[in-house]
Symmetry: C2
Subunit: 596 residues, 2 copies
């Protein structure tokens, strides 16, 4: 069973991602190292002891829809109640509405553990946190006064209604309509799909954020507005009023995260109330709905990225436990009678080390991204812009690299189990299934790669990426200067990987400047992987020489992982460079020949 | 819906793997090019029209166990009946017992299509074909006379009973007992797990091949014997007699291939008959059971390898169809109004091309392996030995590389579908789930890699691998000499990849010779991947310059894929070389630090 790796997370946050320095510099007011550890410990306990034990049942029972009502899996209602009573939903909410207003970093770290406990559970609160953020940033005071306190506490949950059948990655194609009533409210009509926790039995009310078009809206993405549409209207005294004209008409039958109801929502079909149309209120300005969504997009993408880390960590722990117990064959150098634990077999060691190194690399990327977001909020002027650009670069990498390795690590976890890995009761396959959604939602990983190449590379004329690469160069130099035993070859491998990143960045920048956009886009996905490997390798190297407080075993583990990553994972950067710079120009012609 | 790619398969068999030359040389008696095409066409038709339409229902309904009886999915009984009546089960069986005695190549090609239609269906006959082979090679005439004809026709199916809870990869640990009765028969006692189609309702009888230990057998793998144990005993006149003392006591709840009942079998618990003990007969010599299994191991592993190709091909076709129909966004260079089909987006093109190139590469490896097996049978003396070594090298690559890319391609297929990929009704997720078993069973892919490094590299003092590399060098040279448009850079990339293969082969050989076995084993998996990429790249290049018969579009597709593979996939060989030669020596120390 999953145990939250609090010490590893704490080290990565404080020493690798930069939390300690920010605390020392007084960036986060009351936050102290001790408070960080106390929160991580308790959040980890909740993940390990409360959430994780219910994950299997959540998967096998799933959520059920009957007569428009969704019943969550057995135990889910109590779990959610305990969750909100523990104050966990309020971790990052605004203090004005009862939140603890902690840095995003703390949210990401806690959600890592909660997602490891159960992706199907934690995705619900993830959406609420996002909805709170959008409402806080863009809604007027009246809406905030009605909704925010209950959403921060978790008494009500929030959802995001973006996708329609014809509008997924391309939101400009959405058709849901919003008609002004004249009293400041709107009537919403349309169908939305893939709405996570769009309907459930965990709370009395559900607050939907819905993208829709006003009657006179321009076509495309410039004509989209954001509306708040509650399941139940709220009376002036805060009590619940009439049922709004919206409902869940279907649940998706999915590959994984069965506990999370993925709803088809219909707005305004006349099922409730006298007048058809779900009543909603504008959030932000008319036709600026996408901009409202984008302000929370970085956080949302990062919170999906961490799901990859979560699945990877849980899959790793399960595989490690199995590999220690299962005996088969005799490993080289095995002494004594009988079979070896399979963890002694070099091939199994390679699998487990790959799992752990990729997990640690992705974790550090996510935390560094969270730190950049926090610092952009905690800084002013030029510094805020610099941190914001840093966050902009790291966000697509955190989202796509982490979720890709989530699937990869979960697949290795299945493999470590041999035949048992294919049996559902073992649980390894559940991570393989659950993890598979994360590369898809909140912007497919292909979309992330395109964002990185077309929007992030050009930031500050390439200066933002150059600054990040320079930081990683410093890591290589610091490893070299540390002269620490067990890190032989790490600085050199990291420098070589950075050479590959620089050269590939240059090639893509040139391709964009020369108008070879199709080539640049064809190189986007391998480039993002390359960037992620280098960043992860650099953070693992950094982690091997900083912090530690005398825990020699943990320090030795970090050094060993940094070296394993440098010698076994970073070589891939050379091939990715060659693929981008020597292969992207063949894609269009090949596609034309093969697909016609 | 899947359509069998008969033309591509035919080209790969005839022109890439060597079937045409063998036919010209008269190696396969009556087999002609036309007969090959006729068989492929009809086998493909059965796969596309009969099997594929039932795959979804097989997955959702699965097989059910009640009171020891297994009910297969709706339509499965008729499908199997049509299958046997079409003569498909007899494709490769010995002609003496009603089989068509065709080369293994034809079996592998046909099974590729049948597996694409439904892995859960075709795995059943795959096991029967293996059992037929074991019985034909090792059983005495009396057993053959009773069982083979009905197993060749498919009137009865066959199973393989190897695994026990404590004995998976390490068969030496198995405990099932066989006690001689004194009349030439034995009584079998024990439990076997993971028995594919161990019980079902498709046929009147099921013939189990069971590994067990005689009372006085030595410990370990040298004390294992093979027994034939039918579900129903057979009377002298061939009619079915008493129920034997064996039964299915459980079905596994699996990640995929739900239509295939994976049984826990109990032998000799006294449930049937007056005297406890399932009655069986020795196949081959006492204590030589593993050797009997090994004679069919190459074929069995190859037949699992092709399952990876099958899943990949089916996943590719589904993703391609979706990418042509689904519109989102505007691709670079998109003309006209509205959204582009996503197949016009470079990132989607990269995914689809990667899927198709990996599928074609793995297919060619499997067929080349099948050809080597066929030629080893069709040759004599030194030539037979040379072909046998070639088959020995290609078998672990065919098994592991193909099944790894099966999962990889199926995962890309999910990704191409965006959100729909995670919805089970779409079908893309089914290939992702089904494909995941193939890297595990019939010897995990880690076991295959160890086999390649420790048993196959040393063949003929390294000469067998060197000869294969030389053949691939000839391919690079032939591409260069062809001067064909559209193959720019292919020969150079292939040569560079071959350099990587040679250098890594040399490093591993030295490591083994110097007793650094743990390092060699730690490098085994990346080495196998490296070998597979090079072999696949060489076969794709070969395919681009041979055969074709004036079908220009098909020729252009093959050239484009060869170039895409050379420029976008073969670069990985450099990183794999660096990982093996510069990273394997860090694995043991890292494992010690991280796992204690």
């Amino acid at each position: 069973m999953y145990r939250a790796p609090v010490d590893e997370i704490s080290h990565a946050l404080k020493h690798v991602a930069g939390l300690n320095k920010a605390i020392e510099d007084g960036r986060f007011e009351d936050l102290s190292e001790d408070l960080v550890d106390a929160i991580l410990t308790e959040a980890g306990r909740f993940a390990s002891d409360e959430i994780a034990p219910l994950d299997e049942g959540g998967d096998t029972n799933g959520a059920r829809l009957e007569n428009g009502a969704v019943t969550t899996a057995p135990g889910w209602q109590k779990l959610y109640k305990d969750w909100t009573e523990g104050g966990w939903n309020a971790l990052t909410g605004p203090s004005e509405f009862g939140g603890q207003d902690l840095p995003i970093m703390m949210s990401v770290a806690a959600f890592e553990m909660w997602n490891s406990g159960s992706l199907g559970f934690a995705i619900g609160p993830t959406l609420t946190v996002g909805a709170v953020e959008a409402i806080e940033k863009h809604a007027d005071a009246a809406l905030k006064a009605i909704y925010l306190e209950k959403m921060v506490s978790g008494e009500w949950t929030g959802t995001m209604n973006l996708t329609e059948p014809q509008a997924g990655s391309d939101l400009g194609a959405l058709k849901t309509r919003a008609e002004p009533v004249g009293d400041g409210s709107y009537r919403i009509f349309g169908q939305k799909i893939f709405i996570t926790y769009g309907e459930h039995d965990l709370t009395d009310n559900i607050v939907h954020l819905v993208l829709a078009r006003l009657p006179d809206a321009p076509a495309g993405t410039r004509g989209i507005s954001l509306f708040l549409v509650p399941k139940f209207l709220v009376n002036d005294d805060g009590s619940l009023g009439a049922r709004n004209d919206l409902q869940c008409v279907g649940l998706e039958h999915k590959l994984g995260i069965h506990a999370s109801p993925t709803c088809t929502m219909v707005y305004g079909d006349g099922s409730f109330g006298d007048t058809p149309g779900a009543i909603g209120w504008l959030v932000g300005e008319e036709n600026k709905g996408l901009a409202c969504m984008f302000t929370m997009m970085n956080n949302a993408r990062l919170h999906v990225g961490i799901q990859g880390v979560s699945a990877a960590e849980a899959a790793y722990q399960k595989a490690l436990e199995y590999a220690r117990e299962r005996t088969q064959g005799r490993a080289p150098g095995h002494k004594g009678e009988g079979m070896s634990p399979i963890i002694e077999h070099p091939d199994v060691q390679r699998m487990l080390l790959t799992m752990k190194a990729l997990t640690g690399a992705a974790r550090a990327i996510c935390y560094a991204c969270a730190h950049a977001i926090d610092m952009s909020h905690a800084s002013e002027g030029e510094a805020a812009g610099t941190w914001s650009e840093r966050a902009g670069i790291l966000t697509p990498i955190a989202k796509a690299f982490s979720t890709d390795i989530g699937v990869e690590v979960a697949s290795l976890g299945v493999q470590c189990h041999g035949g048992m890995g294919f049996i559902e009761e073992t649980g390894a396959a559940r991570y393989f299934r659950d993890s598979r959604i994360a590369p898809i939602y909140e912007g497919t990983n292909g979309i992330q790669a395109i964002d990185l190449v077309t929007r992030k590379l050009p930031l500050s004329d390439g200066g933002a990426v150059a600054a990040l690469i320079a930081e990683y160069r410093d890591d290589a130099e610091a490893v070299r200067a540390s002269n620490r035993d067990g890190l032989e070859g790490v600085a050199e491998r990291l420098d070589a990987a950075l050479d590959n990143l620089e050269a590939t960045t240059g090639w893509l920048t040139e391709a964009l400047q020369e108008g070879r956009k199709a080539e640049a886009l064809a190189g986007a996905t391998p480039y993002l992987r390359l960037f992620g490997l280098v960043a992860g390798g650099a953070y693992l190297a950094r982690g091997a020489i900083v912090g530690g407080d005398g825990d020699d075993a943990a320090a030795a583990t970090r050094a060993a992982l940094a070296r394993f990553a440098a010698t076994n994972l970073l070589p891939e950067t050379a091939s990715l460079r060659a693929t981008v710079t020597g292969g992207s120009d063949t894609v269009a012609a090949a596609a034309s020949a093969v697909f016609g």
